[in-house]
C-alpha cells in the first residue's frame, strides 16, 4: 500500500496522483494501437489539470479570509477560461468565443444568483467559488457540445436549410430542427446525471457532508439542489448559446452564412 511507503500526506497525495496519471497514460498508449493518437494531449491535460487544481486550492485558501469581491473576480476569470475551452471545441463556429462567454455568463450566472437569493448557497467566498465553478464547468461542457453540434448539423443539411428559406421560411423556422437537436444533445449528459443520481452516482459533496456528520437525508436534499442547479445552468446556457449561434448563422437578408461548400 502506498500509505506505508509515503507516510507524509502530501507525498502520499502526489504518489496517488502519479499512479492515476500513469493509468490514464496507459489507456492513451493502448488507444494508440487503434490508431487513436491522444498520448500527448492526455499528458498535457493531466499535467495542466494537476497544476491548475493545486493553484486554485491555494487561491481558495488565500481567499477564505479575503473580501467577497474576490469571489466575483475568481468566477469571472473562470467564465473566461470556460468560454475559451468551449470555443476551442467549437472552433469552426463563427464568433464561438463571444457566444460561449455570453451564454455561460448568463446561464451559470443567473442560476448562481438565484440560488444565493433562495438561500441554497451561502454568499461566502468558500461557497460561491466551488459551487459557481461546478455550474460554470457543466455550462462549458454543454455549450461546447451545443455549438459544434449545431454547426455540423447545419453544414450537413445546408440544402435543407436553404430549401426552407427558398420556400419563404424565416431563419428561425429553417434552423429550428438543428437548434432543437443541438439543445437536446448537449443536455443529454446533464439529464443522465439527474436520472442516475443516487443509483449509479453518489456525488462527492453528499458523501463529504455525511462523513462530516450532516444527517444523510439533509445531505441528499442539498446534493439534489446542487445537481438540479447544474442542470438549470447547462440548460439556460445552451438556450442562450443556440439562439446566438442561430442568429449568427444567417445574414440580415436571411441568407445562410454557415456553409461548408463552394459558395463562399
Amino acid at each position: 500500500m502506498l500509505r506505508h511507503v509515503f507516510p507524509d500526506p502530501l507525498a502520499l497525495g502526489l504518489a496517488q496522483a502519479a499512479l492515476v496519471s500513469l493509468a490514464a497514460l496507459a489507456v492513451a498508449l493502448l488507444a494508440r494501437r487503434r490508431r487513436i493518437h491522444v498520448v500527448q494531449s492526455v499528458a498535457v491535460a493531466l499535467a495542466r489539470g494537476l497544476v491548475q487544481i493545486c493553484a486554485i486550492g491555494s487561491v481558495l485558501l488565500a481567499m477564505l479570509h479575503g473580501p467577497r469581491w474576490l469571489a466575483g473576480i475568481a468566477l469571472v476569470g473562470m467564465v473566461g477560461a470556460a468560454a475559451i475551452t468551449a470555443a476551442r471545441r467549437a472552433r469552426a463556429v463563427p464568433g464561438a468565443l463571444r457566444i460561449a462567454a455570453l451564454a455561460i455568463l448568463s446561464g451559470a450566472g443567473s442560476v448562481l444568483v438565484l440560488t444565493v437569493l433562495a438561500g441554497a448557497v451561502d454568499p461566502t467566498v468558500t461557497s460561491l467559488v466551488p459551487v459557481g465553478s461546478m455550474l460554470i464547468a457543466s455550462a462549458m461542457n454543454a455549450v461546447g457540445l451545443a455549438l459544434e453540434r449545431f454547426r455540423s448539423d447545419v453544414v450537413a443539411h445546408a440544402s435543407h436549410v436553404e430549401s426552407a428559406l427558398a420556400l419563404g421560411a424565416s431563419p428561425e423556422a429553417a434552423a429550428e430542427p438543428y437548434v432543437r437537436a443541438a439543445f437536446q444533445a448537449s443536455l443529454l449528459p446533464a439529464i443522465d446525471n439527474l436520472r442516475s443520481l443516487g443509483i449509479v452516482w453518489i456525488p462527492g459533496l453528499m458523501t463529504g457532508m455525511v462523513l462530516t456528520g450532516t444527517p444523510p437525508v439533509q445531505a441528499a436534499v442539498y446534493q439534489f439542489v446542487v445537481i438540479a442547479m447544474i442542470f438549470s445552468s447547462s440548460a439556460l446556457t445552451c438556450l442562450v448559446a443556440t439562439s446566438l449561434v442561430r442568429a449568427g448563422a444567417f445574414s440580415p437578408a436571411e441568407q445562410l452564412l454557415l456553409r461548408g461548400d463552394a459558395h463562399p
Binding site: 443539411h157 440544402s159 435543407h160 436553404e162 430549401s163 426552407a164 428559406l165 427558398a166 420556400l167 419563404g168 421560411a169 424565416s170 423556422a173 430542427p177 445574414s251 437578408a253 436571411e254 441568407q255 445562410l256 459558395h263 463562399p264
Partner: protein, 216 residues
C-alpha cells in the same frame, strides 16, 4: 466575399412567361447566378428587378415566395409528402386544404402520394415533390437548378417533361440551369450562355445553340 468574382458583369431581362435556360460548362457561374436571383447569396454590386422593383427593397421571405426555387437535390423535409407540399404556405400561416395538396400532387404525376413518407421516394418522385412544394407558394417566377442532373436516365425525361408542361400550362416565368444543351433546346424559349462568370451570348434558344455548336 473577398477574392474571386464568381459572376461578373451579367445583365439580362427575363420576359414574363418565358423559359430562359442558363447554359455553359460547369464552374461557369450558372448556379451562382441562379442563387443571386433568389437572393440566397448577396450580390457584391448590382441588383435584380422583379416586375420593376429592386429586390433588395422586398422583404426576403416575400421575395422567395414570389420567386420559387427547385434545387438540384430534392432535400425533402422529414414527414409525409403532404407535409412537404404544405411547408411553404404554412410559413405565412396558410394551411393548404387537402384538395389543393391533391391537385398539386396530381399535376406532378404523384396523385395518391400525399400520405407517403418523404424519405421513401425514388429520386424522380422526390424531385417531383420538390417541384410541387415550390408551386404550392404560387410563385411568379420559378428557378430550377439542374433539376434533372441528379436523376437516373429513366426519370430524367419524365421530370423534364413535367417542368415543360408546368411552364406552358401556367405560363410561368422560368429560369433553368442546365449543362445539357439538348435539354435547354427542349424546354427553353431563350438561352443565356455563361462562361467563366460572364455572359457570352443570349438569344432565342435555337439561334444560341446553333451559334455555340459552330464554335471551336
Amino acid at each position: 466575399m473577398a477574392g474571386r468574382r464568381i459572376v461578373d458583369d451579367v445583365s439580362f431581362p427575363v420576359e414574363e412567361g418565358e423559359v430562359l435556360a442558363l447554359v455553359g460548362p460547369s464552374g461557369a457561374g450558372k448556379s451562382s447566378l441562379l442563387r443571386l436571383l433568389d437572393r440566397l447569396d448577396e450580390p457584391t454590386s448590382g441588383t435584380v428587378f422583379l416586375s420593376g422593383v429592386d429586390y433588395r427593397t422586398i422583404p426576403p421571405r416575400d421575395l422567395r415566395r414570389s420567386v420559387g426555387m427547385v434545387m438540384q437535390a430534392a432535400a425533402l423535409f422529414p414527414g409525409t409528402v403532404a407535409d412537404n407540399v404544405r411547408f411553404g404556405p404554412h410559413q405565412h400561416g396558410r394551411d393548404l386544404p387537402d384538395a389543393q395538396v391533391y391537385e398539386l400532387l396530381k399535376q406532378v404525376g404523384l396523385a395518391g402520394f400525399a400520405s407517403r413518407p418523404a424519405d421513401r421516394l425514388s429520386g424522380g418522385e422526390a424531385q417531383r415533390v420538390n417541384v410541387a412544394r415550390a408551386l404550392a407558394n404560387e410563385p411568379q417566377v420559378l428557378l430550377l437548378d439542374e433539376p434533372t442532373s441528379a436523376l437516373d436516365e429513366g426519370s430524367k425525361l419524365g421530370v423534364e417533361e413535367l417542368i415543360a408542361a408546368i411552364a406552358r400550362d401556367r405560363s410561368l416565368t422560368c429560369v433553368i440551369v442546365t449543362h445539357d444543351m439538348a435539354q435547354a433546346a427542349r424546354i427553353a424559349t431563350r438561352a443565356l450562355v455563361m462562361e467563366a462568370g460572364r455572359m457570352r451570348r443570349i438569344g432565342p434558344v435555337r439561334e444560341v445553340l446553333h451559334a455555340e455548336a459552330r464554335l471551336p
